[in-house]
């Protein structure tokens, strides 16, 4: 197909193969005059830009020349410097040779002519650059005159030897493509002379002695050093002869196809099986010289093409210069020219002003391109696939980290002789060696069940305190009495507390409570703050509170009946009106009396009284007391200062029931997480570990940790698997099916294992129970990928909707209407196997994961400004209803080691009673820090 065209009667030269972009130089032809009879000469350089689909060439440089050109040639000389694009040599009349700097022409700089000589006699028609030494140029002119030029010294030429006799014009000179000191020249008489420059003489003359060869063209074989072709311009013998110098008495073969004399030949450097020729029969043919057959033919043109040239850089492309004054550029790969034809027609039309060139007011009708033209423009491509399109090597990845390779095993350049290998290699690629090592450790731990040691190892090798902490939490989850151990991890050991209380009681209660300010300045204990309080530790204060509840100074019974408060209370009591008595006590702020009376007055009154008491009494401790007494765990979780999350968690660990416990831990985690602070998010992870909520743990984790790298993913999966196992141990059944976020990571992890060839291991991580599409898809792929290794297992269900391709014999509704694949595509759903959760800004209110089993749907955490050390009263009825703490309810399975705290008000007693705890973790730390007023240990120090 035609790619480009330009109207020039000119000699042409392509830029060398290493030049980018591709240029074509044209120089006004010396042999032809157009109708203007102008003898002006121009040298032009055009960019051949195939990115631009139009037929136009872009002119990049132009220069008036002193001589018209018989031959133009472009070489790499001087290409060492970055801005250089080589030199163009023009052969003109009267023996003139001119050397141009391409760079200077393109940059429109002064003195583009960098050398000129008139050493030759007559027109210089033959030029060739040595392919090995870019400074060596051969030229041929009249009288058998051949010169070799060193462009570094352009004034003095050399000769290859004595002039051949008889003297005649040299039509072509050509350097051998393999041996750099061999040159040949072609003579109109039909002979070719091969020169050896080392010997400085002709070494062989090639001629078939028919005397009818009239050499117009000559070319060396691109790869076989001893072969060359000669073309004959004689109409009586319009042939191309192939010669081998090893057998120089007659041609090896003769390409016969042109009906009139051959004007030019060009041998494709990228594929020796492609030889172009143009002839006076107006045809351009491409031959396979080995087979002697025409493999491509350009449709007959109206004019002779006097020069064809392969583009050195783009092997599919050649240019043809014709006597009718056009240079056309074609591709041998075939294709349809219709589009271009049309643009050409449009261009012609548009060059007439607005389609109304004669100002008649009548618009020209659109030009109808004759159909005949459209038909002839469909040119079949080369019959023989060109070498440059034949991909000799290849590589492709396949599922399971397989690498498929094939191709050459011998060095390129020797392909002529080689037989092609027919093996394809399948290799296993493993790149993530450290990941695989750690993954195996985890697998072994999970299989052996010895996860405690695994956790202990992780604790010891943890680099970050947070990581160590996390592994401590995970480990404790695997142990018996996990709740009390968790408490200890939080810094609350029951034994230590008992010691402190004992010492406190024996030494007497401190006269004064330490002032909050004093404690705040205590930098060593910044994290010991209890719920909404920067004050003394709860337990100690609680005991003081109970002490204060003991009535004092009771002597003789005296029943006042006066009209003051005492009297009114007495009277009310006498009548059994506890409600009024309590009310009076409360009014007089005699809370102890009120409570005592309320106990006697029954459960309802007690509850009311407690409520009133807490409403009135606003000490730093009262919120805690009220929450504990009234079992408002949710208030604690929702309102506590986030810096005191550990204390809040401790309360949950101590008091809450299992059903509420996980939910409340999750709420606390959600609050921490919603702060968006990385540190608090890490704490949130601890809450989720405590609650055993794997999905939330993963959600929270991925927000603050990258998990795209294999080792980072491994970090996460280790935790997930250990936590999962602890839940399984507690529940005695397989853990819940993973939610979408976890499913994505699990799939990612299993995919990664699969990519390293560990198909069976990858399969193990995918829970069978899961109905997550991602997991089902990967299970299916892994199952079949393992071939016979899983032969005894049942294949998992195919996780896609099958589409039948081909003509369906029995009409099924699914295939009707031509929309089967699309319909199927929508059935597979808007799930995107590899689409991640980018926008996972955490919204606890959004019940977006309904598939998460065994979890509550988090309610919105009330937005409130949390100023540190300031008590915000609990908001009673926000959030889900916390379950009423029923007495004597069976303690949840989860809290295996703990005795139920039967009565809420007896929390302390309960703590004391259940203080036989294992001391495997942090006991030394906590005991060493035992101090009367400090029970809380910074968790980071564990």
């Amino acid at each position: 197909m035609k790619l480009k065209e330009i109207e020039r009667t000119a000699a042409q030269a392509w830029s060398p193969a290493n030049n980018h972009p591709i240029y074509l130089a044209t120089g006004t032809s010396a042999q032809q005059l157009d109708a203007s009879f102008s003898t002006n000469a121009t040298l032009e350089i055009f960019e051949v830009d195939f990115r631009d689909p139009s037929l136009d060439l872009k002119q990049k440089g132009t220069l008036p020349a002193s001589n018209r050109f018989h031959k133009l040639i472009w070489g790499n000389f001087g290409n060492g410097s970055p801005e250089s694009s080589g030199v163009i040599i023009g052969g003109g009349d009267n023996g003139v040779l001119t050397m141009y700097s391409v760079h200077r022409i393109l940059a429109s700089k002064s003195e583009p002519v960098i050398g000129q000589t008139e050493k030759h006699s007559g027109p210089v028609r033959a030029l060739d650059f040595n392919p090995f030494q870019s400074n060596l140029l051969a030229s041929g002119a009249n009288d058998s005159e051949i010169f070799i030029w060193d462009l570094n010294n352009f004034s003095v030429p050399m000769t290859p030897g004595a002039k051949s006799q008889p003297h005649e014009d040299i039509s072509v000179v050509s350097w051998n493509r393999q041996v750099q000191h061999i040159l040949s020249s072609a003579h109109p008489s039909g002979k070719a002379v091969v020169w050896d420059l080392r010997k400085n003489e002709p070494i062989i003359k090639v001629s078939d002695h028919s005397n009818r060869m009239h050499c117009s063209g000559m070319a060396w074989h691109p790869e076989v050093a001893t072969q060359l072709v000669l073309s004959s311009e004689d109409d009586r013998l319009p042939v191309i002869q192939i010669w081998d110098l090893r057998f120089a008495t007659s041609p090896l073969s003769q390409l016969e196809g042109h009906t009139r004399g051959v004007l030019s030949v060009s041998w494709c450097q990228a594929d020796p099986e492609l030889l172009l020729s143009s002839a006076k029969d107006n045809r351009i043919l491409c031959w396979n010289p080995n087979m002697g057959e025409v493999v491509y033919e350009l449709p007959i043109r109206s004019q002779w093409c006097f020069d064809v040239q392969w583009c050195p850089r783009n092997p599919s492309v050649f240019s043809a210069a014709t006597f009718d004054g056009w240079i056309n550029i074609y591709s041998v790969m075939g294709g349809n020219l219709e589009a271009q034809q049309k643009t050409q027609a449009d261009k012609i039309s548009s060059s007439f002003n607005n389609l109304d060139p004669f100002g008649t007011g009548q618009i020209l009708p659109p030009l109808q391109v004759p159909e005949q033209v459209a038909q002839t423009t469909l040119i079949p491509p080369l019959k023989k696939p060109p070498k440059w399109i034949r991909r000799p090597v290849g590589v492709s990845f396949a599922f399971g980290g397989k690498l498929i390779t094939f191709g050459l095993t011998k060095a390129p350049g020797q392909q002529m002789q080689q037989t092609y290998p027919h093996q394809v290699f399948i290799s296993q690629v493993t790149t993530e060696t450290e990941f695989l090592l750690r993954s195996r450790e985890l697998q072994m731990a999970l299989q052996s069940g010895n996860l405690l040691d695994y956790c202990q190892g992780k604790i010891q090798t943890a680099k970050l305190p947070f990581d160590e902490n996390l592994w401590n939490f995970l480990k404790v989850n695997l142990e018996q009495e996990s709740r009390s151990k968790l408490l200890k991890l939080l810094g609350y050991s029951k034994e230590d507390l008992q010691k402190k209380i004992t010492s406190c009681l024996s030494n007497g209660i401190p006269d004064k409570q330490p002032l909050p300010e004093a404690n705040e300045t205590n930098a060593a204990q910044p994290d010991q703050l209890l719920i909404n309080s920067s004050d003394a530790v709860a337990a100690v204060s609680s005991s003081a509170f109970f002490d204060n509840l003991i009535p004092q100074n009771i002597s003789t019974l005296e029943i006042p009946v006066t009209e003051d408060t005492d009297g009114l209370i007495s009277q009310a009591l006498l009548l059994g009106n506890f409600e009024s008595a309590v009310e009076l006590c409360m009014q007089a702020e005699r809370f102890a009396d009120a409570i005592i009376l309320a106990i006697a007055g029954g459960e309802n009154l007690l509850r009311e009284t407690q409520k009133h008491y807490f409403a009135k009494q606003k000490t730093k401790l009262s919120v805690l007391l009220s929450s504990i007494v009234q079992q408002k765990w949710q208030d604690i979780v929702c309102t506590c200062n986030l810096q005191s999350w550990k204390e809040a968690l401790a309360i949950l660990l101590t008091y809450s029931k299992h059903e509420d416990y996980t939910q409340l831990c999750d709420m606390l985690g959600a609050r921490l997480e919603s702060e968006g602070d990385a540190g608090l998010s890490n704490d949130a992870c601890l809450c989720y570990i405590s609650s055993g909520n794997v999905e939330r743990l993963v959600e929270c984790w991925v927000k603050n940790h990258e998990t795209s790298s294999p080792l980072a993913l491994q970090d996460l999966i280790e935790k997930v698997m250990v936590l999962n196992r602890s839940i399984e141990m507690l529940q005695g059944t397989a853990g819940p099916a993973p939610g979408p976020v976890l499913a994505e990571r699990i799939t990612q992890y299993a995919s990664l294992l699969a990519s390293q060839g560990c198909l069976a291991a990858a399969m193990d991580y995918l829970p069978r129970s899961s109905k997550e599409l991602l997991i089902e898809q990967l299970r299916d792929r892994l199952f079949h990928a393992q071939g016979a290794n899983v032969g005894d297992q049942q294949p998992p269900p195919f996780p896609y909707t099958r589409v039948n391709v081909g003509v369906i014999k029995h009409t099924s509704p699914a295939a009707k209407g031509g929309s089967a694949p699309e319909g199927a595509a929508s059935k597979t759903g808007p799930r995107h196997p590899e689409k991640p959760n980018y926008q996972s800004s955490f919204a606890p209110s959004a019940p977006s994961q309904p598939s998460v089993p065994s979890l509550f749907t988090p309610q919105p955490v009330p937005a409130m400004s949390m100023t540190p050390h300031h008590v915000t009263p609990p908001q009673a009825s926000t959030g889900p209803q916390t379950g009423v703490y029923s007495r004597g309810s069976p303690y949840p399975q989860y809290n295996l080691g703990l005795v139920p705290a039967a009565i809420s008000g007896q929390g302390l007693l309960y703590l004391q009673r259940t203080s036989q705890l294992s001391e495997r973790l942090g006991s030394s730390e906590t005991s060493s820090s035992s101090n009367c007023c400090c029970m809380s240990t910074d968790i980071k120090h564990i």
Binding site: R51, S316, G334, F397, Q428, E434, S751, Y800, S819
Partner: protein, 323 residues
């Protein structure tokens, strides 16, 4: 420990001429090969075996590429050839047969690639006639053809689909409604360009023109999605260069190239691992190299596979500099 590449199976294809492509199916259990001997062969390679299960004859020229369709469409293989044809082969009850033949190109068909299975069964074909065809299966043995003419002047050498992406993908589509996929693919050609095509209102439009190569683009490979918002394309060229193109914005407008390496010979093929973190490069220098992006965004050669031996020479500092 250095990465390891070890040959686990050597398949003797008995092709009688140059092999041009070898592809495993979705599960990695079957190998399809094609050759200048005009045949397409399918081998069962499970568990290290190599059982020839089909020798498909139908092309009249060298077969350049083969492509497996997703298994939800059954056992489907597409092949393309210098004979200007695209053939879709199908297995039915153990027998492989031609189910569709497309003859709409005027020159060699150099590349075939199936779209993500979510879109339906769609095949993109790139040809030396400069056009790209999109063949969509519409049911009951019918195929619909869309053609992009003049996609690449002188010819298209490679096509590769983008992974399936839906805008705002977390928003669940109303049930029963077709997801609003943005369909894109990349192509590379003899105009030295990589182009990105996007479907808009059922029409394929040129969305981007990526210019960096100075010679024919031999292959393009759109990386599988690994859950990051970045799109990545690898391209290799006759000029010996391999570029990694990335685009971070969702609109798909700002692509930037990074030179992976300049080889001394033509680079014929690039292929991403399934997890998209490794790029395999195959060049005329008869070598296969594996490349991986480091944390700081630099691409490093992690192994150098010599074909036939399959062994890996660990890349030393000096070699890496040399490369």
């Amino acid at each position: 420990l250095p990465p390891q590449v070890s040959v686990i199976n050597t398949v003797d294809t008995s092709h009688e001429d140059m092999i041009h492509d070898a592809q495993m199916d979705y599960y990695g259990t079957r190998l399809a090969t094609c050759s200048s001997d005009r045949s397409v062969k399918i081998f069962d390679v499970r568990n290290g075996g190599q059982i020839l299960i089909a020798d498909l004859r139908g092309h009249e020229g060298p077969v350049w590429q083969v492509a497996w369709a997703h298994p939800m469409y059954g056992n489907i293989l597409a092949s393309c050839s210098y004979d200007r044809k695209v053939i879709v082969w199908k297995e039915e009850n153990g027998t492989w047969e031609k189910t569709y033949e497309y003859t709409g190109h005027d020159s060699s068909v150099n590349s075939v690639c199936w779209a993500p299975h979510d879109y339906g069964l769609i095949l993109a074909c790139g040809s030396s006639d400069g056009a790209i065809s999109l063949l969509s299966y519409t049911g009951d043995g019918q195929w619909e053809v869309k053609k992009i003419s003049n996609a690449h002047t002188i010819g298209c050498n490679a096509v590769s689909w983008a992974p399936a992406v839906v805008p705002g993908s977390l928003i669940e589509q109303p049930s029963g409604q077709k997801p609003n996929y943005i369909k894109r693919f990349a192509s590379g050609g003899c105009d030295n360009l990589v182009k990105i095509w996007k479907e808009e209102d059922g029409q394929w439009k040129e969305e981007q023109k990526l210019e960096a190569h100075s010679d024919w683009v031999r292959d393009v490979a759109w990386a599988p999605s690994i859950g990051l918002p970045t799109s990545t394309i690898a391209s290799c060229s006759q000029d010996g260069r391999v570029f990694i193109w990335t685009c971070d914005d969702a609109s798909g407008n700002s692509w930037s190239p990074k030179l992976l390496h300049k080889f001394n010979d033509v680079v014929w093929h690039v292929s991403w691992s399934i997890t998209a973190n490794i790029l395999a490069v195959s060049g005329g220098d008869n070598k296969v190299t594996l490349w991986k992006e480091s944390v700081d965004g630099l691409w490093a050669c992690i192994s150098d596979v010599n074909k036939g031996q399959g062994g890996v020479s660990a890349i030393t500092e000096g070699q890496q500099n040399e490369q």
